[in-house]
């Protein structure tokens, strides 16, 4: 009986090896992409961050000098960090609340509501460059739409893109305009809330406001957390609008962090320094994400199982 006893595990092992190989075959394009365009570049970039390099002459190893320069000597580093944090601290809560409110409204079963959903999503479909062109015209101090509206309701005109004190408000307004994707994810979450919970709340005599706070928000909390994290990561990386709408100005008031990093790398060819800056951003985003998951993760309601 011995041959069979040894034959069986062998066949099982062979099948397992086969299954593993097949599995890795299916994910191989992804793995290859991960290795070539992620893991490799990450290691390379980590090394670059320890060098001084203008692409033309060979890189010079400088240790942690780039990081020291950024933190201690580079005023623009702190300006760009401040600009980005300031933008994020308002834009993320603002868009979260607006997107949730829009989703709640658009979740109502009213005829023609899908048309409204489409309208809210339109800005996300508009090519970023086209929307920058459009908003430059809307923000035009003399003949723009926004000042026309202000003038119409009797308010003074505002120098939306010219005044360093005001320009951030323009970016927040633009952020509000493009809440579509966030809203869609909220809508998706709303569809997942069991009807029976609302019915139970109604039996208990809850009004709409109470239902929102006792049923909708807790049920939606994983989606809120998801949108919060994605929103933070995205706003920290804002680039195109800063690059095309204001070119970082006026007076560096919109010198977003990624724009500053981009300039270091691709305009001033300070590759090593730019690589260090990008790692600082990575560290910030990672710490932020972990912090959010640690502190809010427990408050989030998950379905059993």
């Amino acid at each position: 009986m011995a041959p069979i006893a040894t034959f069986m595990p062998d066949a099982a092992r062979r099948r397992r090896v086969q299954r593993t190989l097949a599995g890795y075959f299916f994910i191989s394009p992804g793995l290859l992409g991960l290795a070539l365009f992620l893991v490799g570049p990450l290691i390379y970039s980590l090394w670059l961050s320890l060098t001084e390099w203008d692409i033309i002459s060979p890189p010079v190893f400088v240790g942690l000098e780039n990081f020291r320069t950024a933190f201690l000597d580079d005023k623009l580093f702190w300006v760009s960090l401040y600009v980005t944090v300031r933008y994020t601290l308002v834009a993320v809560p603002l868009t979260l609340i607006a997107a949730l409110a829009a989703a709640l409204l658009l979740d109502l079963n009213i005829r023609g509501i899908s048309g409204f959903r489409a309208i809210y999503y339109l800005p996300a479909m508009t090519p970023a460059v086209a929307s920058v062109v459009l908003w430059r015209w809307i923000f035009n101090s003399e003949f723009g739409l926004l000042n026309y509206i202000l003038d119409f309701v009797g308010l003074p005109k505002v120098e939306w893109l010219i005044s360093a004190d005001v320009v951030m408000y323009s970016f927040w307004i633009m952020a509000l305009w493009s809440i579509g994707p966030m809203m869609i994810i909220f809508l998706a979450g709303l569809h997942g809330v069991p009807r029976t919970l609302y019915e139970a709340a109604e039996v208990d005599g809850a009004n709409a406001w109470r239902k929102l706070w006792a049923v909708t928000i807790p049920q939606l909390s994983p989606v809120i957390l998801f949108n919060l994290v994605i929103g933070l990561i995205n706003t920290f990386q804002v680039f195109t609008a800063g690059y095309l709408l204001t070119a970082g100005g006026p007076k560096n008031a919109t010198l977003f962090y990624v724009l500053y990093t981009y300039r270091n790398a691709f305009e001033w060819l300070k590759m090593g320094y730019a690589a260090s800056l990008s790692w600082v951003l990575f560290a910030i985003v990672m710490v932020m994400t972990i912090f959010i998951f640690r502190s809010l993760g427990r408050a989030v309601h998950y379905e059993a199982g």
Partner: protein
């Protein structure tokens, strides 16, 4: 939400003197269709469109194949390391793009790929996009196992099951990923900005940015160009609208 669009279209049909009127009129009189002709002949937009399609179409087809393959592997096969690797995939979403942008740019400079379309085509196809992989995985997990088990009993391999059973059932998620991929490439700015330097290589988004630099105060022409560039995305959206909402509802959030 819609007001900026109306403003864009209204401005695009005004004469130069009508644009500089305050308070502005909403209905242009006379309607200046010629702005579109002038805007589109200001720069070779047909070349830009061709370039954009040469990037978008291969990326679209390639991404659908690779992302769905990865999604299949992660959702319907069992092998050691699977869940860890999937977590690694997802954590890529947290990585700021600029971190890899710099080393990858250096890499492509060494390969001599700068000012070719390759850096914009090959990386997105190979990676498949972690979010796309995620969408496919979530959708594939909802397809009952009985179907593939029956095929396996008949001696069919995984490739057959993936191609003949799972993919044909996955039209909604294929459509969703196709739309997202198309838009991401049609609208991408920073990629072409980095890699495409000569005018004959520019994409539509990059061309529009150039146009903005050249005609910075001719708002009627700028609005005409912006409207034209936006229209293909809008048409796509109108036809595939339900996939945006339903696609995300069906696939994206089950079992997050």
């Amino acid at each position: 939400m819609i007001l900026p669009f109306l403003w864009m279209i209204s401005s695009s049909l005004k004469t130069r003197s009508q644009v500089w009127v305050f308070p502005p009129d909403w209905i242009p009189d006379p309607v200046q269709w010629y702005n579109y002709v002038e805007a589109l002949s200001g720069l070779p937009f047909h070349v830009y469109t061709f370039n954009t399609l040469r990037i978008t179409i291969p990326v679209l087809l390639g991404t659908l194949l690779t992302a769905s393959m990865c999604g299949y592997g992660f959702a319907r096969m069992r092998f050691p390391g699977r869940d860890t690797l999937f977590m690694v995939f997802l954590s890529v979403l947290m990585l700021p793009a600029i971190v890899t942008m710099i080393p990858v740019f250096v890499m492509f400079t060494h390969l001599g790929w700068v000012n070719t379309l390759k850096p914009l085509i090959i990386p997105p196809i190979l990676g498949g996009g972690p979010f796309n992989v995620f969408l496919f995985r979530q959708f594939f997990r909802t397809i009952p196992n009985e179907l593939s088990d029956a095929a396996r009993m008949d001696g069919c391999g995984d490739l057959y099951i993936y191609w003949r059973i799972i993919l044909p059932l996955s039209r909604p998620v294929l459509a969703t990923v196709a739309i997202f991929t198309f838009l991401a490439n049609w609208n991408d700015f920073i990629g072409p900005l980095l890699y495409l330097q000569s005018d004959s290589k520019r994409t539509i988004a990059l061309g529009l940015a150039t146009f903005l630099g050249l005609y910075s105060t001719n708002w009627e022409l700028l609005m005409a160009a912006a409207t034209t560039v936006t229209i293909p995305a809008l048409i796509l959206f109108l036809f595939c609208q339900r996939y945006f909402v339903e696609g995300v509802v069906l696939t994206g959030l089950q079992g997050v």
